[in-house]
């Protein structure tokens, strides 16, 4: 499978000319948890990489006499794309969970539909910060547990919910980031969750 998919044409497949609405979903999680794998599994293009830089005037410590220093923070992220129909296209962003990334969240990901927190049960602590930040930003999310082959402990979803101190309202789902149908299920569970919340809010009987 690897060799066949790595020989995609260098040119991106263009979007339909009627495409008019771009949407965003962000996949967050610690290093090596499988964010890029998940994006690759469902994307119609080979995942691309881009970055955002932020330049700030350096703080006092960095200053040498008379020379203004600037510090540059770079946040790199992968993304893929799913054409939902002729007019709507969904972009999936795989984003690192570290601190400097959240500094840029509003600039990059305001207006995102929601987020998937990808969890590796061997390193659950990597997810705490991301979950805390998403709650802070009021971004709806689901938690997807990427079951690696050597996940022998097999914590149940309920045990993981407790370990992550997640409220009952947060949907949880098992997944295999390498499997397209599994990743699709994760996205459906997120959008289903959003739909339920939006429906409740519209006060539909």
């Amino acid at each position: 499978m690897g060799s066949a998919t790595s020989e995609l044409p260098a040119r991106r497949t263009p979007l339909a000319d009627d495409a008019e609405t771009g949407l965003k979903i962000v996949v967050v999680g610690g290093f090596g948890v499988g964010k890029t794998t998940l994006v690759r599994s469902v994307s119609e293009i080979r995942p691309l990489n881009t970055e955002e830089v932020m330049t700030q005037a350096g703080a006092g410590i960095d200053e040498t006499a008379g020379v203004e220093r600037k510090t540059t923070t770079t946040v790199a992220f992968d993304f893929g794309r799913i054409s939902l129909n002729e007019r709507m296209v969904l972009y999936l962003f795989g984003a690192p969970g570290q601190e400097r990334f959240w500094f840029l969240w509003d600039r990059l990901f305001s207006g995102t539909l929601g987020a998937v927190v990808l969890v590796d049960t061997r390193r659950m602590q990597d997810s705490w910060y991301a979950i805390d930040r998403l709650e802070h930003h009021n971004t709806p999310f689901v938690v997807a547990v990427n079951r690696f082959d050597d996940d022998t402990d097999r914590f149940t979803l309920e045990e993981i919910r407790q370990a992550l101190a997640l409220g009952e309202h947060v949907p949880m789902i098992d997944c295999d980031a390498r499997v397209r149908s599994s990743c699709k299920d994760v996205l459906v569970s997120l959008v289903d969750h959003l739909y339920t919340m939006a429906l409740a809010q519209e006060g539909t009987p």
Binding site: R12, P14, L15, A16, D17, A19, E20, T21, G22, L23, K24, V42, L48, N49, T50, E51, E52, V53, M54, T55, T72, T74, A76, F79, R81, I82, S83, L84, N85, M88, V89, L90, Y91, F93, R107, L108, F109, G111, L113, N138, P140, R180, K184, L187, V188, V191, D192, L194, Y195, M197, A198, L199, Q201, E202, T204
Partner: protein, 118 residues
Amino acid sequence: MTRGPVDIGDPDRLYMVTGGRTDADDAFDLVTLIVSECEPTAGMQSEHVRILEICRHPTALVEVAAELKLPITVVRILLGDLHDMGQISARHPRAARSVAGLPETALLQEVLHGLRNL
């Protein structure tokens, strides 16, 4: 992973590309779809030429940035130039959101439908 000019350690080039400007036009979202309204002409800045070529079909800002291997901020500035000159048009994400920030159910239904049909 592809590496942009920033990582190669050449931030000066970025200032050249943008004519020294660092304030990006936040009107362009990562997923704003950009469409060329004209063909490149002789004497145009090479980045502008590339953008007009890439955007013959609708292309999201983030894809333009990945293709040009330039940071998002720089691409926002370049797109702002082209937009001001009427050389591109922008299809912005639907801003319609309910008070509490959730998208409309009709939109979500459409997304669900599309995902289930994958």
